[in-house]
Symmetry: C2
Subunit: 192 residues, 2 copies
DNA sequence: ACTATTCCGGAACGTTCGTTCTTTTAAAGG
DNA sequence: CCTTTAAAAGAACGAACGTTCCGGAATAGT
């Protein structure tokens, strides 16, 4: 029928995620994208649509990968506290590596959510999903007597998500990995 | 000598703070500023310099006002826990009011810090100062047997500041005041 | 009254941006 | 072979941006 694409659509989208994560939406020009992705302007437009559509796709992909990772992470058994600490560590390491990009979702919540309803909806759905995953795992811990019956898993899950948002912002601007780990440990005291 | 300025420099700067807080630096055009501040382009340039300089001044003013408020807030005596809760409440109410603007410092940490060293330095200094204020007040509480001697005031202060960053981001994008208050309460469990 | 300084409106400049168009070249399937 | 589709490169567009310049009106102090 036709000529095959010379680039891997998903691969390029992942690369775009990294660019948007490091510089944000507005500070990443279309010229930056074509240059660093190694794809010509026209091909980018043909494949992903305009810049905003590309960003939405990138954020959606980031969100899917995050949920996928978290789903697998929280599927594992064992004590809940080290599991949550690893969750924080992963977020901190990801936010501190390669020029402190932070979390694309958190960054978008600040930069885009107020004037982009689609992003706001995505952020809200993501919060619900992540909090749901954590809450479900906390309920399991409760059933296994690893977490007090008096705790509210949903409220705790929201708190933990809010905490990871703060850590990713701090990581992006201040980038002090060690103190962030300390905060992560202190946050877990809410479980006791 | 000359004609007097028709606007109050500090007042206009405060107004600029609100604009930058709601829309960020890049999404607030100079035309937006002149329109909403009620000051002509030329006067803005004459008084504050270019847009970036104006933003730096606005952020500095926001920081000064924050520190001033926090200094007075944490100077008060009494039990530490309600004092910290009020601190969180203030941040949440400020971040949730008038279109969920969030915290200008947190927003700038996401939008500007990575590519503006001056902003990064300001964010770092602000973190040090706020954490210092909280840590000092926690030490007082320790002396008054209101906080365990085994706790590390500096680490706790960092954690509380990271928490407020997360709350302001969540407030900006999700704006759910009640759940944020719940998270604030849970964060305070780190003191027990 | 004079002068200096500011305010205001608007025009203008140069740049950058996102986006579209055009053309040429290249590969894959009928 | 031929058609279809994609790639690549570059020109071009209109819009928005930050910024500067100009000219006229207003107001303060000498």
């Amino acid at each position: 029928m036709s000529r095959a694409k010379e680039f891997d659509e998903a691969e390029v989208l992942d690369h775009a995620v990294e660019l948007f994560r490091a510089r944000g939406f507005q500070s990443t020009s279309f010229t930056d994208l074509t240059g660093e992705l190694g794809v010509s302007r026209q091909s980018l437009y043909d494949t992903y649509g305009d810049k905003q559509t590309l960003f939405h796709a990138a954020l959606k992909r980031y969100r899917e990968r995050s949920l996928d990772y978290l789903g697998r992470h929280f599927a594992s058994t064992g004590p809940i506290r080290p599991l949550l600490l690893q969750f924080f560590e992963g977020a901190i390491n990801g936010s501190c590596s390669k020029g402190n990009p932070g979390c694309l979702m958190a960054n978008s919540m600040v930069e885009m959510a107020p004037h982009d309803p689609a992003i706001r909806a995505l952020a809200l759905a993501h919060a619900r999903d992540v909090e749901g995953l954590i809450a479900a795992r906390l309920s399991v811990a409760q059933r296994e007597r690893d977490l007090g019956r008096d705790k509210d898993p949903a409220a705790l899950a929201r708190f933990l998500y809010h905490t990871v948002l703060g850590l990713s912002v701090a990581a992006r601007a201040l980038g002090e990995r060690d103190t962030l780990l300390g905060s992560a440990r202190l946050a877990l005291l809410a479980l006791d």
